[in-house]
Amino acid sequence: MNLELITRRTLLAGSAGAAALVLAWRGGVITLGRKGGVNDWLAIEPDGAVILKVTNVEMGQGAQTGLAQIIADELEADWSRIRIEMAPIEAPFLGPDGDYSTGGSESIKTHFDRFRALGAAGRDMLVRAAAARWGVSAAACRAENGRVIHVASGRALDHGALAGAAARLQPPASPPLKPRSAWRLIGKETPRLDLPTKVNGAAIYGIDVDRPGMLVATLAQSPRFGGKLVSVNPAPALAVPGVRRVVNLESAVVVVADGYWAAKTGLEALHPVWSPGPLAGVSSADISAKLHALAAAGGGKPHLEDGADAAAVLAAHQSAMAKGARRFSQTYEVPLLAHATMEPMNATALVEGGKVTLWVPSQAQSDLRHDVAKAMAIPESAVEIHTTQIGGGFGRRLNTDYGVFAALAAREVGVPVKLMWGRAEDMQHDFYRPATVAKLEAALDGTGLPVAFRADIASLDTNPFGGIAPTPYAFPASYVTATTWNPGVPIGAWRSVDWTQNTFFVESFVDELAGLAGADPVAYRERLLAGNPRLLRLLRAAADAADWGKAAPSGRFRGAALCERDGTPCAEVVELTPGAAGEAPRVHKVTAAIDCGTAVNPGQIRAQVEGGVTLALSAALAQEITLADGKVEQALFDTYPMVRMAAAPQIETVILDSPDFPISGVGEPPVPPLPPALANALAAATGRRVRTLPLVSQKRAAV
């Protein structure tokens, strides 16, 4: 392994002479490790504390605990002494493309090898330091739970007592990684480090930030995307007790007050005038009609593997298509979706002496720093970001708008300003899961298996191919095109991105093909997956755990679906009782199987499956963001309904290990299979196929 670790002695105040062991890492290249400076990924303090720098935020996914498990296991650290700190947004901590963010289910998989190496190197150095002190061979010693032990004599020293001596040794060129069989934290259900503060009110989220002299603000943005603030008379807001300022921004008006209630009351007293923007007169029905027309027309940009010739791929597809015994085609549609995190968007900013300091629940620190610097016309080095606990992300906090607004408002005020969005503002100014329509078509052989596959996607999103080009199935002669059309609706990353829509299309379509073939939907998928033992095993695990093939309890029906999101396959079986016409079904049980290669924390993987299933169930049952005259129609949880306790299904998770496959993420993969599994179960129950989500639409019903 081309890995080099730097150690330095560091004097600690009050304990002169005691030194920490500090280990640094930078892309396999020598970097400067310096306590309290940059690139100090791992520090073992003389008092035994183990300080781990992480670049991934905690927003409920448990990644920080998983990262600590990885390093603590290899280090043989005392778990109770692990401390996690957010790394500074500095070069050694940035990703290869200069990125500092948390998303894409990537926290664990990005850092798994690196943290193992750091921990193993530290353990090796502590063992050698102990061996030298005792005058024995390192092979006669072993590290265990925060100590190094001389096996023969039973002598032991704490890691902290050895840190100074270890810091004078050369790090190993090839850190001696433990075999999997010796892992004692990786693979074990390990309690989350952050949870004690989340049951007693002590955790500080962005919304809880308090700074000396701080004012509180709220805002209204242009009700139509792209509209600008033309004018606003501030007097009615300024007449509200506690209101201090009304700040006009290009596309928003901000009311700054002593507290939130005064700011909100002031804001509601205003009558801002907005320019109409490009979406004036546009409705969701218009968008849907346009996307349907584009999908039907096909002819979008084809998805091509590297080096593939478009004409040749199309010719091969058409040739195969002509050989099918029969053809089948269907069109599917999904709506815009909001993230609706429980903690509404917010950020606290102080602008002082040409410098901006932000306290913010962000998933995207490097983007935030860039965007704030650009908006304020200051260098990025003049932007300091403190990341708070995060009350839900799901992709929403990869955008930076709330932080930029806070900085712009604070610039006008001169004291710290906490800018908090109301719920309706949050719902109506999101970066949405893109509305998408797709026409899928297959030519089938005499046994009902595809000999050629085509999808024509029309989406508000660009490049929306994830999960469909390719699908998890080895469809022969596949040809997938996409046409992007967007009149100005903000689009963003919604937990599992393209996979949320494309898995609904593909898995609904495959279920329909199974029906045409007169085949059991799981058995049909198994025929399609012949030659993919990993997915076959996964699907079988989910099916078996769900009692697929055995009679369901009276009145209940099952449906299955699967996806493979960036290396993690996930299969789900939904068991439900259908509702009356126009009513939601009752989902009793969801059985999931997931395979992320190596399961670092099975308890957290189950939690992510439970979360992904529930988020997707809310979406599939009744959620949609719709526009009328360019304005979002939904505002609160009555029009954007959430699954609550009474509708929450029992969720059972089977975790499979695949040690021969790379470790991969778990935050997103449980989301995509749920909506099609639900639609497939409903089709099994009623014979009616739902091809447009959500199942129960307040808007469509009203038409």
């Binding site: 009110g201 308090d210 209630w261 995190t341 903690e343 839900g392 949880f637 609550r644």
Partner: protein, 152 residues
């Protein structure tokens, strides 16, 4: 006009000066710096702002401070002196929270349930726990309530 209110919060007498219409939520969070109670929707739809008033669960985001009177207000910070309430212990044992933002409200809602119904059935929990958890921790909340039942 700002008025002075005498409140009983987590067993202590507190005096605050604010507009009478200000919801209790903002008095707790901003005047008294008890930020464990969260703002979710401001419309009594999600339950993130749930506190106990004389032991009963109330959504503080729509409750004017002027309507609190002499009622004993309990927030998550006051449920136990050190996080040792059976529900808090059960929440940790079941590893309930994900992002954790809704959990103060969930725990207080559960505390109110157990006070009147020490051994709730699943149906009782379905009926009583109507708060929103966007992370989908409902199954673990249910398990934690059952775990704490009889000891709370």
């Amino acid at each position: 006009m700002s008025q002075t209110f005498q409140l009983n919060v987590n067993g202590a007498a507190r005096t605050v000066s604010t507009e009478p219409a200000t919801p209790l939520l903002w008095v707790l969070r901003e005047n008294l710096k008890l930020t464990g109670t969260k703002f979710g929707c401001g419309a009594a739809m999600c339950g993130a702002c749930t506190v106990l008033l004389d032991g009963e669960a109330r959504m503080s985001c729509t409750l004017p401070v002027s309507a609190v009177g002499a009622a004993k207000v309990t927030t998550i910070e006051g449920l136990s002196p050190n996080g040792s309430h059976p529900l808090q212990q059960a929440w940790l044992a079941e590893q309930v929270p994900q992002c954790g933002y809704c959990q103060s409200g969930m725990i207080l809602k559960a505390a109110a349930l157990l006070k009147t119904n020490p051994r709730p059935t699943d149906a009782d929990i379905d009926a009583a726990i109507s708060n929103i958890c966007r992370c989908g921790t409902y199954g673990r909340i249910r398990a934690a309530i059952h775990r704490a039942a009889g000891t709370a």
